[in-house]
Symmetry: C2
DNA sequence: GGCTTGACTACACGATCGTGTAGTAGTTTG
DNA sequence: CAAACTACTACACGATCGTGTAGTCAAGCC
């Protein structure tokens, strides 16, 4: 438990600790006792405030989703991002993203719904942007999954880069590498057609 | 335990069952008793053959990695793929891939090493192909992670598509959607430069 | 025939998990 | 002032986990 957490209520500390530990180790990998220790309370208090592990997870799901939508809205509503420094945002948004991805992989309905909403948004954006893939839905789903891939494989990607991508600097680096993937055409349409026939 | 498995030795059945269940549920999510039941043997026999859960996992890591390298070699060594029907290959290679990715995410050294080798291969391929990103290593790491993303998020992607991508047909569909991502430039270099400055 | 060896099972162990229960201290409310 | 409520802790419960131990059974070897 760090300094800033001391001012929070016990309930908020438990929720934040749960988001951190669930995100790092997965839902099964983090026990209620671990979370209680991280929050500096007894394990019974976790149960007192949230009822059960599944209910705690639900609360984390809804909180993390709401916060991420809120952050996204603040980022897109006005061009000038005064007060919203991307560097200052990272320590807040990154754990939330880690948690949501992990919870989603462990079967969360709420987090999966957020993913599906993301696919819808990407599909609509691509259509309005004049991008016309042969499979618009598949294209959008692939893009949405790609956005999360470096988050999920952060340990492996960090090892490949020799740089921790959970830091703001490292995250920025892999983000720009991802943009290069979207910028440089890897295959010509002719090559795609050739592979497509080969697989038939 | 299906029909074809009946001919295998108990040791092979245990290993195959472990790869399947570990791949589906993760290492912690699949117990030795589950694996034994899936293989149709007692839990004691798992211990008899492999010693411990960690040793079983090691054996699965090495077997899956070796098999995947072997399959990859057979696919690339000669142009004519007679005898290696991609459709027939899917039921064999897909569970192996699922297992390796899952084991990697759960901290396997062997599987992570395979990922790093993949990044090396992508980087060398891109260089020989005349692709010159500003961050070649980051570019290769991003591409390698992307290749695995739809595998990891298979449940979510399947839900977004309304089609199970673990089937050969579904896997083919998302594979082609991924190719479209690599074919259609999403951003112009000018846009990339603009975003790059904005993030500074 | 006796003996070893390997495949295999049954069962018990300690640890850890989520959960349930009982109780304390402090504050609020009538 | 007493009752009620809230935040919080300590402790015990059954289940499940990986692991350890003992023993059965069949095949191969002397």
């Amino acid at each position: 438990m760090d300094r800033a957490a001391e001012d929070l209520t016990a309930r908020a500390r438990i929720r934040d600790a749960a988001i951190t530990l669930f995100g790092e180790r997965g839902i099964e990998g983090a026990s209620i006792r671990d979370i209680a220790a991280e929050a500096g309370v007894s394990s019974g208090l976790v149960r007192h405030h949230f009822g059960s592990k599944e209910a705690l997870r639900d609360a984390c799901d809804r909180y993390a989703k709401e916060r991420m939508i809120q952050i996204g809205a603040e980022l897109t509503q006005d061009g000038d991002l005064t007060g919203l420094d991307p560097l200052a945002l990272h320590p807040i948004a990154f754990p939330l993203q880690l948690y949501l991805v992990r919870s989603m992989m462990d079967g969360s309905e709420t987090a999966t719904a957020l993913f599906l909403e993301g696919v819808d948004a990407v599909e609509a954006w691509a259509a309005g942007y004049g991008i016309t893939p042969k499979d618009p839905r598949g294209y959008a789903a692939a893009l949405a999954a790609i956005k999360l891939s470096v988050l999920i494989l952060r340990d492996q990607v960090s090892k490949a880069l020799g740089e921790d991508i959970t830091t703001p600097a490292g995250y920025n680096r892999i983000g720009q590498a991802l943009m290069e993937v979207f910028t440089i055409p890897l295959l010509t349409p002719e090559q795609v057609e050739k592979i497509r026939k080969q697989e038939k």
